[in-house]
C-alpha cells in the first residue's frame, strides 16, 4: 500500500534522516564481520597449536614402534645369471653394488648390480690346487680358504669407491695375505683377528683321523706399510676331538679369544684363549638342543660383538646362547638367553647385522629379520625366489640374496630403530653379558658394538622417587601451613604471608638447584644426624609447647593473641633448630657408630654407618637434598591452592560449628577440612605435577645415575633430567632422540593426567559449595 519513505515527501528530510540514523555504517559491519572471523579462526588456531604440541611430539615417537619395512617389490636383480657351478659363499661392498660369489673351484665372480654384468675375477690363489674348505669372515673383510694339499689361504677383499661427476663406481680388490701349510686336506677353517694378530683354526683330515690345529699369525706395522703376516706358532687341539663324532663347524670369534667346535651330534666345545699367545683351555661343552629329539645343529654363528651365538636346529628351532658369568661359575660360559619362534623348515642361510644385534635367517623360500636383544621378529616373509645365501648390508639398509638360479637380488630395508619397542622401553631385558633380565638405562657406550640400553623404567622410577621425597617434605609444611593460615591466622597477617609465598613460587628452579648443590648438600653432608634430630625435635617441640601452653591459666594465655602463634613460635623454633643441629654429633657418636678399620675403635660416622647397615650407598648429592629443594619449589603451589579451597568454605559452616561449642581446632579438623578435602587433594596433585616435571634441581643436585632403589641417601635420574642431559647430544632422528621424545610423552601424559584429575576435583568442589 503506502510506502513509508515515499508517502511523505513533503515533510522531507528530517524523517529520512531519522531512519538512516539507525543504519550501521558499512565500515563498522565489515570490521565486525572481519574481527568475528579473525578471532574465531585465530583463537581456534592458537588453541589447536597449543594442543598440537602433544600431537607433534607423539608423531616423532611413532617410528620407534614400526617394524622393519622390506620392499620385496623394489628388489634389484642381476639380469645375467652367474656361471654354472656350486657357490660356497657370498660377500659384498658397503653399498651392495658389486657382490662377490665364490665358486667351489676357487673362482671369484663379481656381479655388477648397476650395469648388470657378470665378471669373473682373474684372481687365482689355488695354482692348480683344489679348494676343500671356505669361510667368509665378513666382519673382517676376510676370506679363509683351505685346500686339498693342506694349505690355508687368507684372502683380504676390499672395495674402494671412486666418484666421477657425482656418480659412484665401486672398484674391487683381492689380496692374498697369508698362506699356511698343514698336513693333509683341510676340511674346516675359521679365523679371528685381534689387533695385529690373527688366529686361524684348521681342521685337517689326515691318515690318523681328524686333526685340529690353531695357527697364530702376526704382522709388524711400520710407519710406511702394514707389514706382512708371519706365522708365530701353532698349537694342537686334536685330543679334544671326539673319536666317534665328526666336526661339523669351527668358529673363531673376531677378537680371536675363543674357538668353538661344533660336533655333528649337536655338542659344542668352547675353547678359551687367554692372553695373546696360544694358551687355550676347554672351558665348556654344551648341547644347545639337548632337550629336543633332534639334537643336531644345522647352523651356528655369532651375532655382532661375538658374544652371542645364534643356533638353529635342522627343524628350524632358533635359540640364542650368550656368554655371561652366573653366580656359581668362575668364568663366563654360554647359556641360553633367548628362544625365537621356530623357522618353518631347515635353515638355509644366516647373516648377522654389522650395526646391531639383528640377524637375517630363513629357509630356502622364507626369510626373517630378527632382533636378538628384544627377542622380536622385525620382519618375516615368504620369498618369491629359492635362496641359497643371504647377507645384510653394512649399513643395514639392504638385504642381498643369492637365488637357486644364480641371480643376486638386492632388497632395500628400512629399519632405523630395531632396538626399540614396547618391550625394550618398559620390559625387563636380558642384555648380552649380564646374567639376569633387568631394567636398565645406558644410552651411550665406548665401543662400536656397544648396545644401547633404553629402558624407561629406571627413569620413571627416579621421577617417582624424587617426587615422593619432595612431597614427603612439602605436603606437611604446605598443608598445615595452609590450615593455619586459613583457619587460625589473624587476617591482618595474610597481607605478608601470601606475597611471601608468591616470592617463593617465583624463585627460578635453577637458583634452587644451585643452592641445593653448592650450599645445602655440602652443609648437611656430614650432619645427617643433626637433620634427623631436627626432624624429630621441632614438630615434637611444637606439640609439647602447645600442650603446655593450653594448660596455662587465662591470664598468662592472654599475652599471646590468637592468630599470632606462629610468630611467637618462631624464636622457640630457632632454639629447637639450634639444639637439634648441635645434638647431631652427639647422637651420631652414640647411635651411628662403625668400627674404624685403622684403629679398631667404634667411631660415630653416619656416612659409613648407613652403607654398613643397609648395604646401599651414601652420596653427597642425594634424594634428601633434592627432596628438600624440590619440596621448596612445590610448597607455594600446594599452599596457595589448599589455602584457597579452605578459605572458600562458606563461613556459615564455621560459625555454626563454633556456635555449637566446638573448639577452633575441632571446627577446622572436623568441619572445614572434610568440606575442602577435594580442593586439598587437587592441591597435592598439582604439586605432584610440578615435582614430576622439575628439571634443573634434579640435574644439579643429584648424581643423575639411573638406579632403582628407594634409598634416601642415593641419587636418581628423572625423565626430565635425562632429557635435559642427553637430548642436546642425541643425533637428530636417531633411536636415542626418539626415545627421549618418548620420555617427554610419558612426562606429558603423567602431568596432564594428574592435572586433569586435580582440575576435575576442583570443579566438583565448586559444584559442592553451590549447594552448601
Amino acid at each position: 500500500m503506502e510506502q513509508p519513505t515515499e508517502s511523505s515527501p513533503g515533510e522531507g528530510s528530517e524523517i529520512i534522516l531519522d531512519d538512516s540514523r539507525f543504519d550501521v555504517s558499512r565500515k563498522v559491519l565489515l570490521t565486525d564481520g572481519f574481527m568475528t572471523w579473525f578471532i574465531k579462526f585465530g583463537g581456534v588456531m592458537v588453541v589447536a597449536a597449543v594442543i598440537g604440541i602433544f600431537v607433534f611430539i607423539t608423531s616423532q615417537v611413532l617410528p620407534l614402534f614400526k617394524g622393519a619395512s622390506v620392499e620385496l617389490d623394489a628388489a634389484t636383480t642381476t639380469t645375467e645369471a652367474l656361471p654354472k657351478g656350486n657357490y660356497l659363499g657370498i660377500a659384498a661392498d658397503e653399498w651392495m653394488e658389486k657382490p662377490l660369489a665364490i665358486r667351489d673351484d676357487g673362482k671369484f665372480i663379481y656381479s655388477d648390480l648397476v650395469t648388470g654384468e657378470v665378471l669373473e675375477s682373474e684372481f687365482d690363489f689355488l695354482e692348480g690346487d683344489k679348494m676343500t674348505a671356505l669361510r667368509i669372515e665378513s666382519g673382517e673383510d676376510l676370506i679363509v680358504a683351505g685346500t686339498e694339499s693342506g694349505q690355508v689361504h687368507l684372502i683380504e677383499f676390499s672395495y674402494s669407491p671412486t666418484f666421477k661427476d657425482g656418480v659412484r663406481t665401486v672398484n674391487e680388490d683381492l689380496n692374498l695375505a697369508f698362506t699356511g701349510e698343514f698336513n693333509g686336506p683341510v676340511t674346516k677353517v675359521s679365523c679371528g683377528q685381534s689387533g695385529d694378530s690373527r688366529l686361524i683354526a684348521v681342521l685337517t683330515e689326515t691318515e690318523e683321523g681328524p686333526h685340529l690345529e690353531l695357527d697364530l699369525v702376526q704382522r709388524k706395522k711400520s710407519l710406511i706399510s702394514a707389514g706382512d703376516w708371519k706365522e708365530v706358532g701353532k698349537t694342537d687341539l686334536t685330543e679334544t676331538l671326539r673319536s666317534d663324532v665328526a666336526v661339523q663347524e669351527i668358529l673363531v670369534t673376531n677378537r680371536a679369544d675363543a674357538v668353538l667346535v661344533v660336533f655333528e651330534n649337536g655338542e659344542i666345545d668352547y675353547h678359551f684363549r687367554s692372553g695373546s699367545g696360544l694358551n687355550t683351555e676347554l672351558r665348556q661343552t654344551f648341547q644347545p638342543f639337548a632337550d629336543l629329539n633332534e639334537k643336531k645343529i644345522k647352523n651356528a654363528d655369532f651375532l655382532l660383538g661375538d658374544v652371542s651365538l645364534v643356533l638353529t636346529s635342522p627343524e628350524g628351532v632358533n635359540r640364542l646362547f650368550s656368554l655371561y658369568r652366573s653366580e656359581e661359575e668362575p668364568t663366563r660360559m654360554f647359556h641360553q638367553t633367548k628362544e625365537f619362534p621356530a623357522l618353518p623348515d631347515t635353515p638355509a642361510f644366516y647373516s648377522p647385522s654389522f650395526r646391531n644385534k639383528a640377524f637375517l635367517t630363513g629357509t630356502s623360500n622364507t626369510a626373517t629379520l630378527r632382533y636378538a636383544t628384544t627377542e622380536t621378529i622385525r620382519w618375516e616373509s615368504e620369498l618369491p625366489w629359492e635362496v641359497t645365501h643371504a647377507l645384510i648390508s653394512r649399513k643395514s639398509d639392504s638385504l642381498l640374496f643369492l637365488t637357486e638360479d644364480r641371480h643376486f637380488v638386492r632388497v632395500p630395508v628400512d629399519d632405523p630403530h630395531p632396538e626399540a619397542g614396547i618391550k625394550a622401553f618398559f620390559g625387563k631385558q636380558l642384555y648380552e653379558g649380564s646374567s639376569e633380565a633387568k631394567y636398565e638405562w645406558q644410552s651411550t657406550g665406548g665401543s662400536d658394538d656397544f648396545e644401547a640400553k633404553l629402558s624407561l623404567i629406571p627413569l620413571i622410577f627416579g621421577t617417582l622417587k624424587g617426587t615422593f621425597y619432595a612431597m614427603l617434605f612439602a605436603v606437611p609444611i604446605a598443608l598445615f601451613g595452609a590450615i593455619y593460615t586459613a583457619e587460625f591466622l589473624d587476617p591482618k597477617n595474610k597481607v605478608f604471608i601470601k606475597p611471601a609465598m608468591e616470592v617463593m613460587a617465583s624463585l627460578p628452579s635453577v637458583v634452587l638447584g644451585f643452592l641445593a648443590a653448592l650450599w645445602l648438600a655440602p652443609m648437611i653432608e656430614d650432619r645427617v644426624p643433626s637433620v634427623l634430630c631436627i626432624v624429630v625435635l621441632v614438630p615434637l617441640g611444637a606439640f609439647l609447647f602447645g600442650m603446655l601452653w593450653s594448660r596455662q591459666p587465662r591470664n598468662i594465655k592472654k599475652y599471646v593473641r590468637e592468630g599470632y602463634e606462629f610468630l611467637y613460635f618462631a624464636p622457640i623454633m630457632l632454639i629447637l633448630l639450634f639444639l637439634g643441629w648441635q645434638m647431631g654429633p652427639l647422637v651420631e657418636s652414640l647411635i651411628f657408630t662403625v668400627k674404624d678399620p685403622n684403629t679398631g675403635e667404634r667411631v660415630g660416622d653416619f656416612a659409613r654407618w648407613w652403607p654398613s647397615i643397609t648395604g646401599t650407598a651414601y652420596e653427597q648429592r642425594n634424594s634428601l637434598v633434592v627432596g628438600f629443594m624440590m619440596g621448596f619449589a612445590v610448597i607455594p603451589i600446594v599452599f596457595t591452592i589448599a589455602e584457597d579451597s579452605l578459605s572458600n568454605v562458606p563461613d556459615t559452616l564455621r560459625t555454626g560449628s563454633l556456635a555449637l561449642g566446638a573448639s577452633r581446632w575441632q571446627t577446622a579438623w572436623r568441619i572445614v577440612l572434610p568440606t575442602a578435602s577435594a580442593g586439598i587433594l587437587s592441591a597435592i596433585m598439582i604439586g605432584l605435577g610440578r615435582a614430576v616435571g622439575e628439571t634443573m634441581i634434579v640435574v644439579m643436585a643429584t648424581g643423575n645415575t639411573p638406579i632403582m632403589e628407594w634409598n634416601i641417601f642415593s641419587g636418581m635420574r628423572t625423565l626430565s633430567a635425562n632429557i635435559a642431559v642427553e637430548l642436546p647430544e642425541a643425533p637428530h632422528h636417531g633411536t636415542l632422540y626418539r626415545t627421549l621424545f618418548l620420555g617427554a610423552v610419558v612426562l606429558f601424559l603423567m602431568t596432564f593426567l594428574v592435572n586433569t584429575i586435580a582440575e576435575v576435583l576442583r570443579q566438583h568442589l565448586r559444584e559442592k559449595y553451590k549447594t552448601v
Binding site: 578471532i39 597449543v50 656430614d526 602447645g546 614430576v692 637430548l727 592435572n755
Partner: protein, 556 residues
C-alpha cells in the same frame, strides 16, 4: 548466675586441640623461615661479592700445612669462618678460616684453608694492593716498582709512583678498548665482506660459470679487503705491543717478586686504606662493571652484560609473540565460542598445559622449531651455507617461540579471568547503545581488562626469564661471541645463539673447572636474576590488587 553453669567444662572444650593449632603454626613458621634463610643467603653472598673487604695478612706457625712456597706468610680476604671436624679418629672440631689468596699464576689455587691454631699473628698491612687483571684472577701483593718502556724505573716509594701508575692503567684500559674496536668491529666487518663474497661464489654452480667481469670484480674486492685487513692487523699488533711495554713489579705476600704488564691491569686499589665511604663507592663501581662488562676467564671474572642482554632480548621477543596469541585465544574462548562442554574441556586442557613440565616444551621446540622449521628455512633460503645450519640450530628466535608456547596458557588464563571480571552491565550498556560486538570488545571490554592482561604478561615474563631447562635445548650457550641485537645490518639477528642469566648460573656453578672460584659470580648472578624475577612478580601483584580494588568499588 552466668548462662553457662558448668563453666569449667566449657573452658576445657574450647581449648581442645589447642596443641594442634601450635603444631600447624609451627609448619607455617618453618616455611617462612625457609624463605627468609634462602633469600638472605643469596643476598648476603651476592652482595659480598662486590664488597671490597680488607686483606688480612697472617703469620703462620712453623710447619703449618697451610704454608705456600715455603713461606710462613699468607694474605687474602676472609671468605669463610667455620668449624671443621677433622678426619682423624679423634674427630675434634677445629675452627678454621678460608682465605681468598689470589695470585693464581703463582699459587695454582685461589683459596686456602688455615686452622686458627696455625696462626701466629694477624695484621692488615696498609701497603697491600689488590689488582684485577685480565688473566689469572686478582693479584694481591705489594707494589715494588714500575719499569717503563723507556727503560726508566719508578720505585713504589717515589712520589710520582701513584700518579704514574694511575695514568698508565687508565691509558691501558683506553688502549684495550681501541684494540677491541679494531679487532671486533673493523676486522669483523672485513671478515663479513669476505664471507659474503665467498657465499656469492658458491651461488654459482661451478667456478667456470662466473662471468669474467664479476670474477674480476670479486678478486679486486678481495685483494682490497685483504690489504685493509693487514693494515688493521698490524695496527692492532703495535697497540698490543704497547700494552705489554710497561710492567708493574710486585712482591707476593709469600715473598718472591712477580711482574705484570700494566696493559692487563683492569683496576687496582689498596683495600686496607679505604674508609667506609670509599668502600661503598668501590662497591658500586664493581656492581656497575659487573652489569655492563663482558665476561672474562671462562666467565668466572668480569661482568655478565651479554647474559643480561640475552635474557632481555629473549624475554622481549617472547612477549611480542605471546601477547597477541594469548589474548586472541582468550577472547575467542570467552566472547565468541559457544560455552559448552567442548569449550569447557578446551579450557581445562589449556589450564593443564600451564602445568606441563617446561622440558616438554623444550623437546617440542627442538623437534618442531629448530629441526623442522629451522631446517626448512635453511634448505629454502640458506642452502648455499649448508651443511652449516643457519636457522636449523638453536637460536634466540626459537628459544623465544618455545617459551612463548610455554607461557601462552598463563596469558590465556589470566586474560580470560580479566574478561570475566568485566561486569555484564557494561557490555550490555554498550550493546544497547548500538555498538557492535567487536566495538564493545575493542572499546569497552579490552581496556577494562587491560590490567589483567598485563598481569598475565608479567607473570609470563617472570616465568620465561627464570626458565632454563627448555633453553638448554633450543639455543642458549655458555659464551656467545655476538649479541642478538647490534649495529650490523640487519640489526636483529634472530638466528644467533645467546646467553641467559639462568643458564649462566647453571654453567658457572656446574660446568666450570674451578667451581669454588666461580661461586661469587654465581651468587651475584643469582641475586640479579631473582631480583629481576621478584620485581616482575611484585609488579604483577600490585597491578592485580589494583584491579581487584577497582572492581570491588565498581557500581556494577
Amino acid at each position: 548466675m552466668t548462662p553457662f553453669e558448668n563453666s569449667k567444662s566449657s573452658k576445657k572444650s574450647s581449648g581442645r586441640g589447642e596443641p594442634m593449632v601450635w603444631f600447624t603454626g609451627m609448619w607455617l613458621s618453618f616455611g617462612m623461615l625457609m624463605i627468609i634463610v634462602l633469600l638472605s643467603i643469596i643476598v648476603k653472598n651476592g652482595f659480598s661479592t662486590f664488597w671490597p673487604s680488607p686483606v688480612l695478612q697472617i703469620e703462620l706457625v712453623e710447619g703449618s700445612e697451610a704454608g705456600l712456597r715455603g713461606s710462613s706468610k699468607l694474605a687474602g680476604d676472609i671468605r669463610k669462618e667455620q668449624i671443621r671436624t677433622t678426619a682423624s679418629e679423634t674427630g675434634e672440631a677445629v675452627p678454621e678460616i678460608q682465605l681468598f689468596i689470589g695470585n693464581r699464576e703463582a699459587y695454582n689455587t685461589g683459596f686456602r684453608f688455615v686452622m686458627e691454631s696455625d696462626i701466629k699473628s694477624r695484621d692488615f698491612p696498609e701497603g697491600i694492593m689488590r689488582a684485577e687483571r685480565l688473566e689469572y684472577g686478582d693479584m694481591i701483593g705489594y707494589p715494588a716498582r714500575l719499569e717503563l718502556a723507556d727503560g726508566s724505573t719508578i720505585k713504589s716509594t717515589d712520589d710520582s709512583f701513584a700518579s704514574t701508575l694511575h695514568d698508565i692503567v687508565k691509558e691501558g684500559n683506553k688502549r684495550r678498548h681501541e684494540i677491541e674496536h679494531i679487532e671486533k668491529d673493523q676486522i669483523g666487518a672485513i671478515n663479513r665482506s669476505m664471507e659474503s663474497i665467498k657465499m656469492k661464489r658458491r651461488g654459482w654452480e661451478s667456478e667456470e660459470d662466473i662471468p669474467e667481469k664479476t670474477q674480476k670484480e670479486m678478486e679486486e674486492k678481495q685483494a682490497e679487503l685483504q690489504a685493509d685487513y693487514e693494515e688493521l692487523a698490524s695496527e692492532a699488533k703495535t697497540l698490543r705491543e704497547l700494552q705489554s711495554a710497561n710492567t708493574l713489579h710486585y712482591l707476593l705476600p709469600t715473598d718472591g717478586e712477580r711482574s705484570v704488564p700494566t696493559g692487563s691491569i683492569v683496576d687496582y686499589y689498596y683495600p686496607n686504606q679505604l674508609n667506609l665511604f670509599q668502600r661503598t663507592l668501590r662497591f658500586f663501581k664493581r656492581v656497575g662493571s659487573f652489569v655492563k662488562e663482558d665476561p672474562r676467564e671462562a666467565n668466572t671474572e668480569g661482568g655478565i652484560f651479554p647474559a643480561i642482554f640475552g635474557t632481555f632480548v629473549m624475554t622481549l621477543l617472547m612477549s611480542v609473540a605471546v601477547v597477541p596469541f594469548g589474548v586472541l585465544a582468550a577472547i575467542y574462548l570467552r566472547e565468541y565460542a559457544k560455552q559448552g562442554p567442548i569449550v569447557r574441556s578446551v579450557r581445562i586442557a589449556v589450564n593443564n598445559l600451564a602445568g606441563v613440565p617446561s622440558i616438554v616444551f623444550g623437546v617440542f621446540g627442538l623437534g618442531f622449531f629448530v629441526y623442522f622449521m629451522g631446517g626448512s628455512i635453511d634448505s629454502l633460503f640458506f642452502s648455499e651455507r649448508l651443511p652449516t645450519p643457519t636457522f636449523g640450530t638453536g637460536g634466540v628466535i626459537w628459544a623465544s617461540l618455545t617459551l612463548a608456547l610455554m607461557t601462552v596458557p598463563v596469558v590465556i588464563v589470566s586474560t580470560e579471568e580479566a574478561l570475566v571480571a568485566v561486569p555484564r552491565g557494561v557490555r550490555e550498556a554498550s550493546l544497547a547503545a548500538g555498538a557492535s560486538k567487536w566495538q564493545t570488545i575493542q572499546r569497552i571490554v579490552l581496556p577494562a581488562s587491560l590490567p589483567g592482561i598485563i598481569t598475565g604478561l608479567i607473570l609470563a615474563m617472570a616465568r620465561g626469564a627464570g626458565e632454563v631447562a627448555p633453553l638448554m635445548l633450543v639455543g642458549v650457550v655458555k659464551l656467545a661471541p655476538t649479541l642478538p641485537l647490534d649495529t650490523i645490518a640487519p640489526f636483529i639477528h634472530l638466528e644467533r645463539k645467546f646467553m641467559h642469566l639462568g643458564f649462566h648460573i647453571y654453567d658457572l656453578g656446574f660446568q666450570s673447572p674451578d667451581s669454588e672460584a666461580a661461586k661469587p659470580m654465581v651468587f651475584a648472578t643469582t641475586l640479579l636474576l631473582i631480583g629481576l624475577v621478584i620485581a616482575l612478580n611484585a609488579f604483577a601483584i600490585i597491578i592485580r590488587e589494583r584491579l581487584r580494588r577497582k572492581y570491588k568499588t565498581s557500581a556494577f
